[in-house]
Symmetry: C2
């Protein structure tokens, strides 16, 4: 089955359990609204691609890890958009969850997606304590404290910030969790795969900075120029667009070089080259050139 | 070791990992502030007491399950106190987390505590896939959607609410998760232990309703009369204080009768009688009599 179809199916199956008959209708609707229709699904595609490159011996574990990583990404977007953070009205080209369902349900939908992520892993890896425990810890490390997404977001409330630590925690941690989880799902050593994820996270951050200053809201589905509005560091703003595009290319090349030896190394390198083109919205590179 | 001391130690050890060197100082401080100093620790004490009654064969698993349940309870309090929900200024006799650290850090502290709960279970149950997977699923069911704490809280945003479903999800689900997790930690059948937890959750809810109308803020460490201020159902308001106190007694007796056959059945029954006295703040019963 095509990886993209597998991801949507895994997300749908897991979400259906959370929407059970007892669920308050507003919460159930908000959960589905936060996850569908699909964004680029960059992180779960990465989980799946790495798992396949490592032999793909346990598709259920890969599906579960991919869905968990996407649920956590969606949860972070829902909370990140809240008025006390970015106060974003739009996400993926439609009203943000708190705009559509109100703040209380948005907070709870984020919470419930975090919980659902871990439940999904537990359901997908029933018989292997080392793999199950490892996936829970890897994914937890990528999103919690001291150095996951929550920590990255919390740096925005600190008076002094290390930009490198901020981006590493807020963006690269989930990419590193995705590559490590994909490897572990297939029985490979997760530690060897973190470096690839971190470099892809850096590339994504550069692309996101470029999009923020050079793309329109129609192209990204979210508000443009947020970084300067919110006083956040933006590498494309600091070094200029051409330099930033060159940095993006270099970081992608380094990421491709960091793919560990594995049965599907050549295919994975090709897939990463293709996927990273989707880091920038369609039409942006031409517009910026 | 005394169960109370074991709980505080398990919470401290797990929290120390989340506060690692890379953690933004505000987030690290908010996490500790949300968990310490101790509240009554009713739910983790219940995990421990059930695990001991079932033979206490795996103290690490019991410690992990107890800490996870308390982290999730604390997370729910932090988010529940936010301005978009109860807008509570105080909790456990001190400013609520968002009053002390601001809303962004409060949202993130709640998120990070949810993640930490699952990481703690994974660390405490390294070698038993059935037990680890079961604990993650039990705990997830108690707090997420469709019928855990998040769902309970989300009922407050619905135009029509089943009061029974609301209380079952918002309060009883975590008690049922606590008894089931305590049993599973010790290798017993978790399903047989849910009924006890649900009845204790009902008793706790009745006690909470009584406290809300009859206790002072000094006695409870939180704002009194919240239910009538927020238009929520309150059984003590509806049936009167004396009837509500009688209902509390009856529910406790039913809970005690629901303790399954186990090696420590008699001691657990005695412990539950003692613990449920702490459901009402000290001095309240005398004041109300």
């Amino acid at each position: 089955m095509d990886l993209g179809i597998r991801i949507e199916k895994a997300l749908d199956v897991a979400l259906t359990k959370a929407e059970g008959a007892d669920c308050p209708p507003g919460l159930a609707a908000a959960l589905r609204y936060a996850v569908f229709p699909a964004g680029h699904r960059i992180r779960p595609r990465l989980v799946m691609a790495v798992s396949e490159a490592c032999g793909g011996s346990d598709p259920d574990a890969a599906d579960a890890a991919a869905a968990a990583i996407e649920f956590l990404h969606c949860a972070s977007l829902v909370h990140d958009d809240l008025p006390c953070f970015d106060d974003a009205d739009e996400r993926r080209g439609k009203p943000s969850v708190h705009r559509a369902f109100g703040q209380p349900v948005a907070v709870l939908a984020g919470d419930a997606l975090i919980v659902l992520a871990f439940e999904t892993i537990a359901r997908g890896v029933p018989g292997d304590a080392r793999k199950l425990g490892g996936l829970v810890r890897l994914v937890g490390q990528a999103v919690g404290a001291p150095a996951g997404i929550c920590a990255g977001q919390a740096w925005e409330s600190e008076p002094t910030v290390s930009v490198a630590a901020y981006h590493r925690a807020k963006t690269a941690s989930l990419f590193a969790g995705a590559t490590a989880a994909g490897a572990l799902a297939a029985g490979a050593d997760p530690l060897a795969w973190r470096d690839l994820g971190e470099r892809l996270g850096e590339a994504y951050q550069v692309a996101d900075d470029i999009s923020d200053i050079a793309a329109t809201s129609e192209q990204t589905g979210k508000t443009s120029n947020r970084d300067s509005l919110l006083g956040r560091p933006n590498v494309a703003h600091e070094m200029g667009l051409d330099e930033a595009l060159a940095l993006l290319d270099r970081t992608v090349v380094e990421a491709i070089a960091a793919v560990p030896v594995c049965p599907g190394q050549a295919q994975l390198r090709a897939a990463i080259l293709l996927e990273t083109k989707r880091f920038l919205p369609a039409g942006l590179v031409r517009t910026a050139a």
